[in-house]
Symmetry: C2
Subunit: 156 residues, 2 copies
């Protein structure tokens, strides 16, 4: 069930992030059974990591704390609607629910144009601003064949 204390915590992390110069104006909190498992701000510019959005940081830390690669039974509170990278991460982590406060349009107004990436996803590869080019090699596909045949694999 939604609890505004956790959303306010996510927003406070975003505010502190700007005040302290730690990264972009975003925060995220992972909650399980009414307890905070992880609470992180965006650290892209201070940790030199293009992937260090608040949600990614919070998912990674929650996984580490729970010694799990999926977040079943968890809920994520994000100060802002997730970008496509974070949306993908949320689907792989499989929390029960995501709550967010600000939305894409609010973020776009201060220079974070996630909607650009949302649009690029829908384009054919050759029309994307970063070209996605397929080059198959004879070796390609062997990894999938081995995976399919493996009796010890750990699906995720």
């Amino acid at each position: 069930m939604y609890d505004k204390r956790f959303m306010n915590k996510a927003i406070e992390l975003a505010i502190d992030n700007v005040k302290n110069g730690t990264g972009g104006p975003f925060g995220a909190v992972v909650v399980k059974d009414g307890e905070i498992i992880s609470a992180c701000g965006n650290t892209v510019t201070t940790s030199n990591d293009a992937t260090a959005h608040a949600e990614i940081n919070a998912i990674r830390e929650a996984c580490r704390k729970l010694s799990a690669y999926q977040l079943n039974g968890c809920e994520i509170y994000a100060s802002c609607e997730p970008c496509p990278m974070c949306l993908g991460a949320i689907y792989w982590a499989r929390p029960d629910k995501l709550y967010y406060a600000s939305n894409q349009d609010d973020a776009a107004e201060v220079g974070f144009d996630d909607s650009f990436i949302y649009h690029e996803i829908t384009l054919p590869h050759q029309q994307r601003s970063i070209p996605f080019i397929r080059h198959s090699e004879p070796l390609s596909g062997k990894e999938f064949k081995l995976w399919k045949e493996s009796s010890t694999k750990k699906p995720y």
Copy 2:
């Protein structure tokens, strides 16, 4: 310019990953000026990290090695077409180009249904399998106002 040595390296990482039980059958290599900056396999299940796809691992390591949060001038070689999370990460990291060998359909055949997430992105929030629910709070938006007014912010 495409260099098949780097693609074969990415595919070999994927193959080794299955053989060694290190993670899913995926590898990625970041290249700059003809040199490999990072070369990583997927480590979701062994590092307990839902976000530890090959491309994310390779982007994070390349950022660390280059002390940069963007990968301008770099090219990424991926053994398989990136999932939406990795596509998002690639857009944030801004390499010049992405090359991939296998595609979404090949991955789906062995159980990695990235197309499910690609489809979910296009759905209205209330129709998604993981609910995305908006709850604004009075504090919400203050972080963006501060960001907009900040004279010391570091955009990314």
